[in-house]
Symmetry: C2
Subunit: 125 residues, 2 copies
DNA sequence: AATTTTCGATTACAACTGTAGTCTAAAGCG
DNA sequence: CGCTTTAGACTACAGTTGTAATCGAAAATT
């Protein structure tokens, strides 16, 4: 199911998550700020994403317009979940603690988290 | 610096984090419950971890006793941080939200988080 | 219509990973 | 003191990933 999306492939997906459908050349353009991949490279990555079922394309004239199949939500969730399981026995608090320790959460972060927790607690009634 | 530790290598590190120093055969034994790797495989993984600077060994008689160089703390922090950056622009709340949505946080998780946040807020005074 | 450009498809190729096997020397066994 | 076991060192080999290049067909240009 949820296949291994590699680091390079993720960047391509991130472009598609921001806007789709897009042609390969458009995707390459949007990636050109962050990377220096040739168009060929981007096309290879796109093919692999299609093979893996993470994206697909429709045909427009003689070129393809790509769009994501798996959602960013879904992907984020599965990766986060896997990380939490592996590193923290599935518990959220140590994960957040590590974030806090590693880089400091801003007061905004804390406020946001507080609200989130309030909401989640309300669900338990 | 903090090198790429692969999935298989991580499992070996996890054994070392639990107890060290250990000989290769002991490590293989401890892994045998979760995996079915041959001793050779474990030794290869150990060598690679040493190459990557994640572990090292001391000599005892004619065999090696391995121990971790990078700590679990450090590793967890760097992986968590990278994930948060990549997926959530470095913000913690969406990360927790995803955990919550994906699998449900237990009331205990929430309580723990609440305490953690309280502590962190206190630091801002 | 002939030439150039542009697509996607196929192929390349080295580094990294998973998963060992072989080689060599030392250590213990008989 | 030879024979077997055991350790680490070195080698292997297919699959994945990063990073393209080449090929053949269709489209655009001149």
């Amino acid at each position: 199911m949820s296949e291994q999306i590699t680091k390079a492939e993720f960047e391509v997906m991130d472009v598609l998550w921001a806007k789709s459908p897009l042609a390969a050349s458009e995707i390459a353009d949007r990636l050109s700020t962050s990377n220096s991949w040739s168009l060929k490279t981007v096309k290879t990555l796109l093919s692999r994403l299609v093979d893996k079922g993470a994206a697909d394309h429709e045909t427009e004239g003689r070129r393809f317009l790509y769009y994501p199949i798996i959602t960013r939500q879904h992907y984020a969730q599965s990766v986060t979940s896997r990380l939490a399981d592996q590193l923290f026995g599935g518990r959220a608090a140590p994960l957040v603690a590590h974030l806090a320790e590693g880089r400091g959460l801003t007061p905004d972060d804390l406020y946001e988290l507080e609200q989130l927790i309030k909401d989640l607690k309300r669900e338990y009634d």
